[in-house]
């Protein structure tokens, strides 16, 4: 059997206009040997989950800079559950206040990586926690 690659969706739900961070992370994940589906700006939760399903993604990385995480991130989790994609690892990043993190973890987001998180930390976390 060939080496399995980690398939990760990098998505920006909502109306963010800046994606330099998400694009940089996409490249960093690829550099770490992952296959990254970068879905671009202005994704709806439906688009993100459809991508996760068709791509058989191991990981979904959600990025939000404009404060919409409390609305969109749980919506993505809800749709993933609906589609029975229960073993997909979901992580988030961007501008997310500390006080919102527990709520996000409650709905199933595994970890939130704020600005300034060293990127090897993110890569390590994903590699360790992804489904086998």
């Amino acid at each position: 059997m060939a080496d399995k690659k980690i398939k990760i969706i990098v998505a920006k739900p909502g109306l963010d206009g800046h994606d330099r961070g998400a694009k940089l992370l996409s490249r960093i994940f690829a550099e770490a040997g992952m296959e990254v589906v970068y879905t671009g700006l202005r994704q709806t939760p439906e688009m993100i989950v459809e991508a996760a399903l068709q791509e058989d993604a191991d990981v979904v990385g959600l990025s939000s800079l404009s404060g919409v995480h409390n609305h969109f991130f749980p919506k993505v989790m809800e749709l993933l559950k609906e589609k029975k994609l229960d073993d997909v690892l979901v992580v988030g990043g961007g501008i997310i206040p500390e006080e919102d993190i527990p709520g996000l973890k409650d709905v199933g987001i595994s970890e939130i990586f704020g600005p300034g998180t060293p990127t090897p930390t993110i890569v390590d976390y994903i590699t360790k926690n992804v489904r086998s």
């Binding site: 059997m1 060939a2 080496d3 399995k4 690659k5 398939k7 996409s26 490249r27 994940f29 690829a30 550099e31 770490a32 040997g33 992952m34 296959e35 990254v36 589906v37 970068y38 879905t39 671009g40 994704q43 439906e46 688009m47 459809e50 991508a51 399903l53 068709q54 791509e55 058989d56 589609k83 029975k84």
Partner: protein, 324 residues
């Protein structure tokens, strides 16, 4: 509860299709029995290849074409292939960006795939993925791939109709008129026709097509003269012309028996490729796991043996041609 993946694929379940595609990509043993059950249900889908340099607008074109095909009531499977890094083995698969809206249409399935070191512009499992989408009921399968230079021509072995997308101003117009990629097209698309240089590119490519017709050796198939179509896909201009061109090619193939011939050729190629891959994988595994490979390379490096006689040695140890 065990899931009957083959059964679910035949019913068109996107989740089962996605999982089986992953098995094929990862060479999971579960794929083989599954494919055995799916194969009898293949052969119906029409395969269109869309190839060309990066930046020519292939993904946008694929998106627009898909909408028109859907409007005809047909379902579409899309395979978007991007290259893996030869250094890290990773890949950024960025074609889906342009197609995220259409991906939500239940009659459309989009999968991004990395080449994973396979040469020729496709991945080792692309042909098998076509079979899965075919078995799941997709009427048309579009394979979008980067095609540059002389070697990225695998697409023509898999597709019924191959479209080469060119765009003005990328500097590759004249240079790309070499053997290889320029030769495989059934349809040339001059995309971004709203840009400067598009008309000139159209004239150059049309001229070349006419010239090809004159110089092509009698032994080569000369019954189809490639069509050259202008488009500005992002503005939804010319897309129906491209679709008409594809339909035109399809009816040409079906009319004079070439369709069956091409399919036969494709089947032969795919089978040989699979046999080749299996034999080589087996051999490589045994040679490296036993440490034999290291010994052989040492012997060559020390000039104790040459690679040619070593190859004969390995073959005589491992390959036995059955008699009769």
């Amino acid at each position: 509860m065990t899931i009957d993946y083959a059964g679910e694929v035949l019913q068109g379940s996107p989740r089962a299709v996605a999982r089986v595609i992953s098995w094929l990509e990862n060479e999971n043993e579960r794929a083989r029995p599954c494919m055995g059950r799916l194969y009898p249900h293949t052969g119906r889908a029409y395969v269109v290849g869309i190839t060309g340099s990066p930046g020519t607008g292939k993904s946008t074109l694929t998106d627009k074409l898909t909408r028109y095909i859907r409007a005809k009531g047909l379902t579409v499977g899309i395979i978007a292939v991007d290259p893996s890094s030869p250094f890290t083995g990773g890949a950024v698969l960025g074609d889906r960006i342009r197609m995220s809206e259409i991906a939500q249409d239940p009659g459309v399935f989009i999968r991004s795939m990395a080449t994973r070191g396979f040469l020729g512009g496709l991945s080792q499992s692309t042909g098998k993925v076509v079979n899965v989408l075919d078995a799941s009921g997709k009427d048309v399968i579009i394979i979008e791939t980067v095609g540059v230079g002389q070697d990225e021509v695998e697409i023509m072995r898999i597709a019924d109709t191959t479209c080469l997308v060119l765009a003005p101003g990328l500097g590759d117009a004249i240079q790309s008129m070499k053997a290889g990629v320029m030769e495989i097209a059934d349809i040339y698309v001059i995309n971004k026709s709203d840009r400067q240089g598009a008309d000139q590119l159209f004239v150059e490519v049309s001229h070349r097509v006419n010239q090809d017709d004159l110089i092509r050796a009698k032994s080569r198939d000369r019954s189809w003269i490639p069509l050259v179509v202008q488009a500005a896909a992002v503005n939804d201009v010319g897309v129906t012309d491209i679709l008409d061109a594809v339909l035109s090619h399809q009816s040409h193939l079906k009319k004079d028996g070439t369709f069956v011939e091409k399919r036969r050729e494709r089947t032969q190629q795919q089978t040989l490729q699979m046999i080749h891959y299996e034999i080589f994988s087996l051999l490589r595994k045994h040679l490296s796991e036993s440490g034999k490979m290291e010994q052989l390379v040492d012997a060559i490096m020390n000039h104790e043996q040459d690679p040619y006689s070593i190859v004969q040695q390995v073959l005589s140890e491992w390959i036995r041609v059955p008699e009769g």
